[in-house]
């Protein structure tokens, strides 16, 4: 059995020696460097661009503007593009940071110097800016969303009369929770290398979805997808910002065509803030109604997030209220506040990440009001079926996750009152974790060779989640060969099509396709050996009837058949699995924090995350994902904010110096990640579900709840920075 084993990462040696290649590490013969010039105003139009100074810079080859770029052959409308407009198609400025020119040069130094010398003249118009952070103003500015492709659920949902139930409930919570815009900040900035050979385009890209880039660029140029090859060897973190096609990917391909030479664009950190996605500011009005025992009678959840003047990205925070607790009534609404800002996008963990901040804070407030243990309040409202639809769960072991997490943390015997540790007041808090389940169709091919080695092929991406290890493990498990005998080919549109690497979807979709392809190999081999495919198993390069002593060497079977290898194919079609069931992942997070009341400092001391996510293919890589999620949650709780400056219409700091993200010193080693024993056969034949995002949910609420326990201060606006704790 290799499934379930904590194999160390197969990509370890190449990643610790610097030999793993990321897009910006690649070069092509005769390549030009591209550097982008971005708009300094949030709204208006470009009236003129003086390229003269830039062209005088030695090594600068071209300066491309909206007057030079070919027009898109198909209108850019919705995904796979990250924004339904493409810069350099007209003279309009829709947000500060929009690309207005692209400088191509023989060297990076020349391209950067040239970009600084491009002079852009603007005719500014009045920009719409985000309103002040206060519910009445946000409520007034909010509009029902337009669906231009960037929201994936009904913006409103109701069941029963929640408003009525809240009005007559003996216990209610009615509060507003807010959080600022935050950026993904993967350590690798996005990069792309585009080259044409005749009418065929090859793109090396840091992306979460090579096939989406292929389709989008083919449409842009009006060429068949088969003429576009997209390759992504390794992507240096993504977290959502590389999920859809950004402006640079299209511009590099267009520029390479115009210049007749390969073009590489590696974005600056500032570019990542200027025109790529981020999680928008989200303000949530939360209402809970309950009886004296804490049984919920209704939930209302009214969410407004920042969106753009062209498209409404909707941050589906109401998904949390829709699925976590049994409630007879609910009223959920999502709206957009439009402004001249860059287009937001999904970020680890979208929807439930923000939603659980509000819901699980409100639940804590209700528990305090009732004088109930917050864990007991959650157990009292446990949803045995999907509260919105009534459908059964594909699998749910949240009760076990609560219990086992509480035991590991020592929740039940925790001190009732906060205590002192030197300068620190120590408090504890907990919250539930919840994440949606996204599944995408995927295909894979497995080739088993006569010498006992195998090749697994599927066009998935490596963004660090562990796929380079777990997919070989899945194939090795079926074929009875060591993981080291498997070569894994991925990240290329010439391979069988796999789904995107987002939405915590890869194990279920791509993993199931690899499993099916390996099983196909085994079945073919069984038939060649005159065995019944249903009753065979493979081990040590041999195949035999399960339980029987007799077995046959794979090499012999192939030799007799005159074949050098057996090829199996497999696919995963989500519509064929788990119809009628509701699928989610669940968990509980317990944290202990320290607050220095004089300085307003907040520190994480320890945490326990306990999760119900189905079967775990590799406990080592799975732990890394959940741990990473918890750290993301800590960042959201304690420090992350991309401050927006309305007088300039831009993010104040477009760098990692003015924007805090967790560093090593912020994170204690005392973090426990625990999985309950579970197999979810309905979600996917793998038995597992998604784990990439769940860990980031619930943490901010658990931290705020612990801060309340420690200090009696209820913080409802993230992040929990010193001035809020001193106030």
């Amino acid at each position: 059995m290799s499934i379930g084993e904590p194999f160390s990462r197969i990509d370890g040696p190449i990643k610790v020696t610097g030999t793993a290649r990321y897009t910006a590490d690649l070069r092509a013969a005769n390549m030009l460097y591209g550097v982008l010039v971005t708009a300094s105003i949030p709204a208006g139009k470009v009236t003129g661009i003086d390229k003269g100074g830039a062209m005088l810079e030695a090594g600068v080859v071209r300066v491309l503007t909206h007057e030079d770029m070919p027009r898109a052959r198909t209108p850019i409308a919705g995904p796979p593009f990250a924004h339904s407009f493409l810069p350099l198609q007209d003279d309009q400025i829709r947000h500060e940071g929009q690309v207005v020119a692209l400088v191509l040069a023989e060297s990076l130094e020349a391209a950067e110097a040239g970009a600084r010398k491009v002079q852009v003249r603007y005719a500014p118009t009045k920009a719409t800016m985000p309103v002040a952070l206060a519910w009445p103003e946000i409520d007034r500015a909010a509009e029902p969303p337009r669906n231009t492709g960037y929201f994936f659920l009904e913006p409103e949902f109701s069941k029963g009369d929640a408003v009525h139930n809240l009005a007559k409930a003996p216990k209610t919570v009615a509060t507003v929770y807010s959080q600022p815009s935050r950026h993904h900040n993967p350590m690798e900035t996005s990069a792309v290398l585009a080259l044409w050979e005749g009418d065929a385009l090859t793109v090396y890209d840091s992306t979460q979805h090579v096939f989406a880039v292929q389709r989008g660029l083919a449409a842009l140029f009006g060429i068949p997808p088969a003429s576009v090859r997209v390759i992504s060897q390794h992507t240096g973190g993504a977290f959502g910002v590389k999920g859809l096609i950004g402006a640079h990917e299209a511009l590099a391909a267009q520029a390479a065509r115009i210049a007749g030479r390969p073009v590489r664009i590696a974005l600056s950190r500032a570019n990542m803030y200027s025109f790529l996605g981020y999680q928008p500011r989200i303000v949530q009005k939360m209402g809970l109604g309950a009886d004296e025992k804490g049984i919920l009678t209704g939930i209302t959840h009214d969410v407004v997030n920042l969106a753009t003047v062209t498209d409404d990205y909707i941050e589906a925070a109401t998904e949390a209220s829709k699925a976590l607790y049994a409630t007879p009534t609910m009223w959920l609404r999502q709206r957009a506040e439009r402004a001249n800002v860059a287009m937001p996008t999904a970020m680890r963990a979208p929807g439930e990440g923000p939603g659980m901040w509000a819901l699980e804070s409100a639940m804590d407030e209700l528990a305090v009001d009732l004088g109930m243990d917050p864990l007991d309040l959650r157990l009292a409202n446990y949803a045995e079926t999907d509260p919105a639809t009534g459908a059964p769960w594909s699998s749910k072991k949240l009760r076990d996750a609560y219990e086992e997490g509480a035991r590991l943390f020592g929740w039940r015997d925790r001190p009732r009152f906060p205590w002192r540790d030197g300068d620190w007041i120590v408090g504890q808090g907990m919250a539930s974790c919840l994440m949606g389940t996204f599944r995408f169709p995927s295909r894979a091919q497995v080739r088993l060779r006569r010498d006992g080695s195998a090749v697994v092929e599927t066009g998935t991406q490596d963004i660090g989640t562990g796929v380079l290890t777990i997919f070989p493990q899945i194939a090795a498990d079926v074929l009875g060969i060591p993981v080291s005998a498997i070569e894994f080919k991925m990240g290329d549109t010439t391979l069988p099509e796999a789904g995107p690497t987002y939405g915590s979807s890869s194990t279920m979709g791509v993993g199931a396709a690899v499993l099916a392809a390996a099983q196909d190999v085994r079945n073919r081999l069984a038939r060649m050996a005159n065995l019944s495919p249903a009753e065979v198993c493979m081990a040590d390069g041999r195949i035999g009837r399960t339980g029987a002593a007799e077995s046959f060497s794979v090499a012999d079977i192939l030799e007799r058949a005159g074949e050098s290898e057996i090829v199996g194919t497999g696919s995963f079609d989500p519509t064929k699995h788990g119809a009628g069931y509701s699928m989610r992942t669940f968990g509980a997070i317990f944290v202990e924090v320290g607050v220095d009341p004089e300085l307003g400092l907040l520190r994480l001391r320890r945490a326990v995350g306990s999760y119900s996510v189905g079967r775990i293919v590799n406990p080592r890589t799975a732990r890394a994902q959940l741990l990473g999620g918890i750290v993301w949650g800590w960042g959201m709780a304690a420090m992350e904010q991309s401050a927006f400056e309305p007088s300039l219409g831009r993010f104040l700091s477009k760098n990692l110096a003015g924007v805090a993200i967790p560093v090593n010193a912020d994170i204690p080693s005392d973090i426990t990640v625990h999985f309950v024993d579970e197999v979810d056969e309905k979600a996917s034949p793998i038995g597992g579900k998604g784990i990439g995002e769940l860990g980031a949910t619930g943490v901010a609420a658990a931290v705020a709840n612990a801060v309340f326990h420690a200090t009696g201060k209820r913080i409802r606006d993230l992040p929990i920075t010193p001035e809020k704790l001193i106030a």
Binding site: G12, P13, A20, H234, A238, R269, G464, V663, I667
Partner: protein, 160 residues
């Protein structure tokens, strides 16, 4: 002093002496990546904020994006490519694998180079000290506890 657009520098990089004509604006990071094809050293910010570009300059860890190549004339530079003999892993590299101290791997060359220097500096007297002195190397995949475990294991190898 007269401004020169190009200068000739001599650097000893991973044990090899290289004489090069460099653009006055070229950073040590771009020199390594774009001119010498030593792309193991990564660019995460280009402003000294992330540590992805960490190399050893005369034995000390530096952010190579903040060093102008011209200013490093005569220096000895070690990059991730020069850390271990061919085909062999440095104990710190092995510890990173053993303790799962990376995910996407983009920050990893910088983390490894920082760890080697950290151990040499002796900033390893406690877990808190290790965490503090490794905080110039951001890891957005957030493998921090595993990185600390790798550092501690590498120290044991060195002592044992």
């Amino acid at each position: 002093m007269e401004f020169r657009q190009h200068l000739t520098v001599v650097l000893r990089i991973n044990g090899l002496d290289r004489q090069m004509r460099v653009d006055a604006r070229t950073t040590l990071l771009d020199l390594l990546r774009e001119h010498l094809a030593l792309t193991g050293t990564k660019k995460g910010c280009n402003f000294g904020e992330c540590g992805a570009c960490t190399v050893h300059l005369n034995g000390r860890r530096v952010n190579s994006c903040l060093v102008l190549a011209a200013s490093a004339d005569g220096a000895e530079v070690t990059t991730i490519e020069g850390l271990a003999a061919a085909g062999k892993l440095h104990p710190v590299q092995q510890a990173f694998i053993d303790h799962d101290a990376f995910q996407c791997g983009f920050c990893t060359p910088g983390q490894v180079m920082s760890t080697v220097a950290l151990i040499r500096e002796g900033h390893t007297r406690s877990e808190a000290e290790i965490r503090e002195w490794m905080s110039g190397n951001l890891c957005r995949c957030s493998s921090y506890p595993q990185i600390v475990a790798a550092v501690e294991a590498a120290i044991r190898v060195k002592e044992g």
